[in-house]
């Protein structure tokens, strides 16, 4: 009698399949995240062994009057997040609402909206560097043809940050797709009964669509706050390197300079921790506003 012997029970095999994923996350994200916390409290230059620093790294980046760059970068990043996140979310929402219904050509329009999102970062940065070139760029050529003033854009500290916001507004494909999915998850019967009740378009949007989309919008905004602090790096590195006069020095660029250029890993890690704390605080504030708003809505 031949008895089939299975090497491993089913659940063990499933566990094995999860090993690369879980181990990878632990090694590539978990461990580095833990090490960052430790590194913020030591002096380390990647050559000699680390030595204990206590709070010296934090004191240096926050209070040293000779090196205000962290504070400048912090202010710049906050400016970017405050402008880019709401505009990106609204843009994605507007486009998702507009291109939600299945009509002829809608697939083409959706693909076009998503297209800039897939352009590789370096190429994307170079393209916008060209578009906003003061002399050759299409934007200033257009403004010139319309007899409008032609700003120096990236060469001018007052307008340079705006270029980063504008180029971020074209890469909203992910939010757009997530909101489209959210819209399509709303059962059509809801709309049918709203129509029977005689609700107009605005009322349907305000009282039916938006409340049902709220969880998706929240997820998206949280993700965007986190990402907006981080994703400026490649564009920053390629387009301005932080100039003119640190007007576009965003946090990841400053951290890169500190750690990978000056090999001062300690202060770099301290900046990183502060950036996380700030991101977490911002998200906390967002949630508390949301709770207030919900309570006000219930009364």
């Amino acid at each position: 009698m031949i008895k089939r012997v299975r090497a491993l029970p089913y659940r063990t095999e499933l566990g094995l399949m999860l090993v690369p994923y879980l181990l990878g996350v632990a090694g590539l994200i978990g461990l580095p995240a833990l090490l960052s916390v430790g590194m913020a409290f030591v002096f380390y230059d990647a050559l000699s062994p680390p030595t204990w620093a206590g709070l010296a790294n934090f004191r240096e980046i926050l209070t040293d009057p000779t090196d205000p760059l962290f504070k400048i970068a912090l202010a710049n990043s906050l400016y970017f997040v405050a402008l880019a996140v709401p505009l990106r979310t609204l843009g994605a929402l507007g486009l998702a609402l507009w291109l939600n219904r299945q009509r002829r050509g809608v697939g083409l329009y959706r693909a076009a909206v998503y297209l800039p999102t897939v352009i590789p970062d370096v190429a994307y940065a170079l393209i916008w560097l060209w578009i906003f070139n003061p002399l050759y760029g299409p934007v200033n050529l257009t403004l010139n043809a319309l007899n409008l003033p032609t700003p120096g854009w990236l060469a001018d500290g007052d307008t340079a940050k705006l270029v980063f916001v504008i180029m971020a507004l074209f890469q909203i494909g992910e939010g757009f797709v997530v909101l489209l999915a959210g819209l399509q998850n709303i059962p059509p019967e809801y709309y049918a009964s709203a129509a029977v009740d005689g609700a107009n378009r605005w009322q349907i949007l305000r009282h039916l669509t938006l409340p049902l989309l709220a969880p998706w919008l929240l997820l998206l905004t949280v993700r965007d706050v986190i990402l907006s602090f981080q994703t400026t790096f490649t564009a920053n590195f390629i387009m301005t390197g932080g100039g003119p006069y640190y007007a576009t020095l965003f946090l990841p660029m400053e951290i890169y300079n500190e750690a990978f250029d000056a090999f001062r890993f300690g202060p770099g890690a301290a900046m990183m921790l502060l950036m996380f704390a700030l991101t977490a605080a911002l998200i906390g504030v967002m949630f508390s506003f949301l709770n207030d708003w919900r309570e006000a809505d219930e009364h």
Binding site: M17, L18, A46, I119, V122, W128, Y136, V178
Partner: protein, 292 residues
């Protein structure tokens, strides 16, 4: 579009005319959106064909005169662009199979677990999805330096171990969940183990997801700038994004050449996107991918 039918009925002809003009407005605005979003690409291509060294034009030149195809040849003269492209291709084609393997394993295991296990892994994946590369780059660098992975493709390929992105795991998870549970049950009754079911039952029925994740992963590795910037020191290992940066450092004002380089880098991505876009922009699939 039943406007034709309505036209036969005189009472409803004004209604149908209204509908037609509404349709026109819809398409006019949608086309404006479309043009706005492809404008950066159009300008990139147009600028890549401009003769270098010309004075700035007074109005936008949509089609440059003369058309300088030579910019593309010049690109390959200045830098080993072919070598860089090959390197990018090597990295991507090693990373894609690795990603497909680990992501589909994790997605399959997740789909087969109990409801509680599924929920936990879902939350875990969504949290990981929110962590960008730059959040851990410092200490990851230190870690890889200890392992001796600096200036080697191992550093670039390492994320493949965790399926590259939790999004890919979720895509596989959703695809495997859509397969009727009876198929898995039947295979288990015949004594098949998890790896056999994954290979024989699950994967063959998730072909579309396999293609989509493969292409998305390819785009991810092809476009990656930060990792090669941090880890690759010798020029012979450079991938295209770092090569493009090198080109910029050689001559910051040679826009036609920089744009030609951008076109070379972007074209494969656009082509792959156009193939894969149906999969995740199509109505019926959207809810399946992001829903639940």
């Amino acid at each position: 579009m039943n406007t034709k039918q309505n036209d036969r009925n005189p009472v409803s002809s004004s209604v149908s005319r209204k509908r037609v003009s509404r349709g026109l407005i819809y398409h006019a605005i949608s086309w404006a959106i479309l043009i706005l979003f492809i404008l950066p690409l159009v300008w990139m291509v147009s600028a890549s064909l401009r003769q270098p060294g010309l004075a700035p034009p007074r109005i936008i030149e949509w089609i440059p005169n003369p058309i300088a195809w030579g910019n593309y040849a010049r690109l390959f003269d200045l830098l080993p662009v072919g070598r860089y492209a090959l390197n990018s291709l090597i990295v991507s084609s090693l990373a894609v199979p690795l990603t497909l393997l680990t992501a589909s394993w994790a997605g399959f295991a997740m789909a087969q677990l109990s409801a509680r296990g599924r929920e936990r892994l879902m939350t875990f994946s969504l949290v990981v999805l929110m962590i960008p590369v730059t959040a851990v780059w410092l200490t990851r660098y230190v870690l890889f330096a200890w392992l001796g992975w600096v200036n080697s493709y191992l550093a670039l390929l390492a994320p493949g171990i965790m399926g590259s992105s939790p999004l890919f795991i979720l895509l596989f998870y959703w695809a495997f969940r859509r397969i009727p549970a009876e198929l898995y049950e039947a295979a288990r009754l015949e004594g098949a183990g998890a790896f056999v079911i994954w290979w024989r039952v699950a994967l063959p029925l998730a072909g579309a997801t396999l293609v989509a994740v493969g292409l998305l992963a390819f785009i991810l590795y092809w476009s990656d700038f930060i990792t090669p910037l941090l880890y690759l020191k010798s020029q012979s290992l450079y991938t295209l994004p770092v090569g493009l940066r090198q080109l910029q450092e050689m001559d910051r004002t040679n826009w036609p050449l920089l744009m030609a380089g951008s076109v070379v880098m972007t074209t494969p991505v656009i082509v792959l996107f156009l193939i894969v876009q149906r999969y995740f922009l199509q109505e019926s699939r959207l809810a399946g991918i992001y829903g639940q």
